[in-house]
């Protein structure tokens, strides 16, 4: 390596989020990460709260009444939306990352058609399915 006074130029976390000129998969990557973190935070709390049923029926009912109310209902709704996206996009990622939806290696001829273009219909389909699930859940949760 050169012994020079070079200046560090890694983008850092901005490089994770940096959108703008990028494609839809970059946003899906960011959203998958954010929804994953949100779901994990909820899940860890969920384990603690729902384990109240181990003590008695009354303890369960008390725990559930503590997490009722509009604040928790909206929070729960956001978790549900995050689940819809993370689950369906997760199916896409599973297929793509095991190399089943990226196409075979091809001779690159300009204009290049990359694996990102090959899996694009799957990405759009995943978004559509997640949207439909979110709508069903929305109707179900807010209809009463």
């Amino acid at each position: 390596m050169l012994d020079s006074k070079s200046h560090p130029n890694r983008l850092g976390i901005w490089g994770w989020l940096g959108g703008g000129r990028w494609g839809v998969e970059r946003y899906l990557y960011t959203l998958h990460r954010l929804t994953g973190l949100g779901l994990l935070a909820y899940f860890l709390l969920h384990i603690v709260v729902t384990s109240g049923r181990a003590f008695s029926a009354a303890a369960w009912t008390r725990a559930m009444s503590q997490v009722s109310g509009p604040f928790f209902k909206v929070g729960e709704y956001l978790v549900f939306l995050a689940f819809c996206f993370h689950a369906i996009n997760g199916i896409r990622l599973g297929l793509v990352e095991l190399g089943f939806a990226v196409g075979k290696p091809i001779e690159p001829v300009y204009p290049y058609r990359t694996s990102v273009d090959v899996q694009r219909p799957l990405a759009l389909a995943a978004l559509a399915v997640a949207f439909v699930l979110a709508v069903i859940g929305t109707i179900s949760m807010w209809s009463d």
């Binding site: 976390i13 029926a57 369960w60």
Partner: protein, 150 residues
């Protein structure tokens, strides 16, 4: 330290398990208003002995108002061994999937070697602790549900 090849493969397998079990869980909890499957929320459909069942909301007028999270449903589900086993299975899969995902994100921040080891150990302890607590709760809840039934 476990190799990422192994951990990532299990991350994917756990994801598939979660997809099925959490799919059923979500169907039970949030889509009941649209898609009702009797075996998932038995108390919402079958006749409920209102005198014996404490409910989160007052003045339950008819059985349509029994919510998936009301004790009647929790008891009806929790009494079954298959439900208890699936809860524990889902708990383990989701804890591994989520905590490995978090570890991935934290490791991408390029922490020092000592911090990597500390983070791995902390996440492992957190995961094991919550798994034991959650599994114990599922077993105990089944016992309580059975006692309630008797």
């Amino acid at each position: 330290m476990m190799r990422d090849q192994k951990l990532w493969a299990w991350h994917l397998i756990a994801g598939a398990v979660i997809l099925v079990l959490l799919g059923v869980h979500m169907l039970t909890m949030h889509m009941e208003g649209v898609i009702r499957i009797q075996s998932l929320n038995p108390a919402s459909v079958e006749h409920v002995d209102k005198d014996r069942v404490p409910q989160t909301r007052d003045q339950k007028s008819d059985e349509e108002d029994i919510h998936p999270i009301d004790w009647a449903n929790v008891r009806a589900r929790g009494v079954r061994t298959l439900y208890m086993a699936s809860y524990i299975f889902l708990l383990g899969a989701a804890l591994f999937h989520g905590l490995y995902g978090l570890r991935n994100i934290l490791f991408e921040l390029n922490p020092a070697v000592w911090l990597r080891k500390t983070l791995s150990a902390l996440l492992l302890l957190l995961g094991l602790g919550l798994f034991v607590y959650g599994a114990w709760a599922a077993v105990m809840a089944r016992a309580i549900a059975r006692a309630w039934k008797a």
